[in-house]
Subunit: 222 residues, 2 copies
Amino acid sequence: MQVKKEDFPIWFGQLTDEHWSIVLKNSVCLDYNKNEIVCKQGAFATNVYFVVSGMLKVYKEYKGENLIMSFVRKGEVFGLSSIYNNATNLFSVASITPTTVFSVNINVIKNQIREYPDFAEKSIIQLNKEYADTIERIVSLTQKQLNGRMADAILHFARNIYGSDEFNMQITRRDMADFCGMSTESAIRILKELHNDKIISLEGKNVKIINKQQLESLSEFG
Amino acid sequence: MQVKKEDFPIWFGQLTDEHWSIVLKNSVCLDYNKNEIVCKQGAFATNVYFVVSGMLKVYKEYKGENLIMSFVRKGEVFGLSSIYNNATNLFSVASITPTTVFSVNINVIKNQIREYPDFAEKSIIQLNKEYADTIERIVSLTQKQLNGRMADAILHFARNIYGSDEFNMQITRRDMADFCGMSTESAIRILKELHNDKIISLEGKNVKIINKQQLESLSEFG
DNA sequence: GGGAAAAACTGATTTATGTCAGAAAAATTT
DNA sequence: AAATTTTTCTGACATAAATCAGTTTTTCCC
């Protein structure tokens, strides 16, 4: 598979062909099946990854438990937050669906940061965005209870991931639980409750938001 | 109070006198008493702040509850994470002790990022550091129970804030609770328990770590 | 220095949520 | 298509931690 710089316009769009060829020389395109680990928390960070297709989970491992920080899809980047300081991966990342990623050597990225102020600025903006999202999640995870957290997750899927109130969430209940910081049983129970209360409709992994207002109010007050 | 660029060598050390004078023209030095709000979550971010003296808490407000993200002291910076995207303050920041901050206009910072690759890199490193700390905290807050969280907090104070196993923690039990994401009563109870179990000695706000190994094991397994 | 307010503390009670145990359904492999 | 594994689901139970209610101590400030 051939990656073009136009596939990631924010990151590579402005590069001259010469510089782009340097990037290409230090990159590979990798295909993963479902449920394969792309990078492992704690290992030395060697690459920054750009998602060409598929869906992955970015998660923190702790004592056999996973806390999913985010899901990444086509056009998105991961690994940028691990390139400085001690340069070990802050997170593990695994594929949820078959996935293709464009894997760029870390030093190429660092050079770009030093040589292209625009690239540096883009990186800062990206990091700020990830950081802001993380802060919102820390509030959701620590201040809200189960219903509110699940409502947040569903709204996040609808708004930010699928851009629709009706979607197939792809992930298992277990991943959903790991994203909401609760036990699998609790996640299942609450999804069922939301279904029974006709706030969402749920058939397997297919979700449809029926009463968005009530879901938002759960997110706010639950 | 006159701030010198050598006071913040990482940020301003490399600037020419000419550029430093531009920074100074767009900055003010501000004195705060105890318990004053320096910036308010949600307000437009207009400045980046460098701590000249004193101690502040950086916290997230949610429904009257505060979750303290970090404490900042002399030489440290805050507000950098709010300058891009929608440019509203991600956090509130309030003084814990009488405090002096050097407040620099956001556009000066943004210009520096664009003009000095080194400054941009430093900013990325700073953001990465904040981000990594936040991730460690999210794990502590969501995966550990009360004892482990309190142990983390005490170890953080000893290692990162005071650099000593014996310190006056300055903050109230309530702030400690807000930092650990627990109720004030729980924070008090656990601090007392740690004292009774001779893991720390506690007299008012004076803390001394007596059995560091056990505290670390609480952090790990509690 | 005395009064008021805030902070620190303690025990009893409630509750949210995890854990356990097992059944049904779906997905995957042979 | 059958067998096996994984995922989903449900109820009963256990428990960590919040809440409530009240006391004591410390800090603040007139």
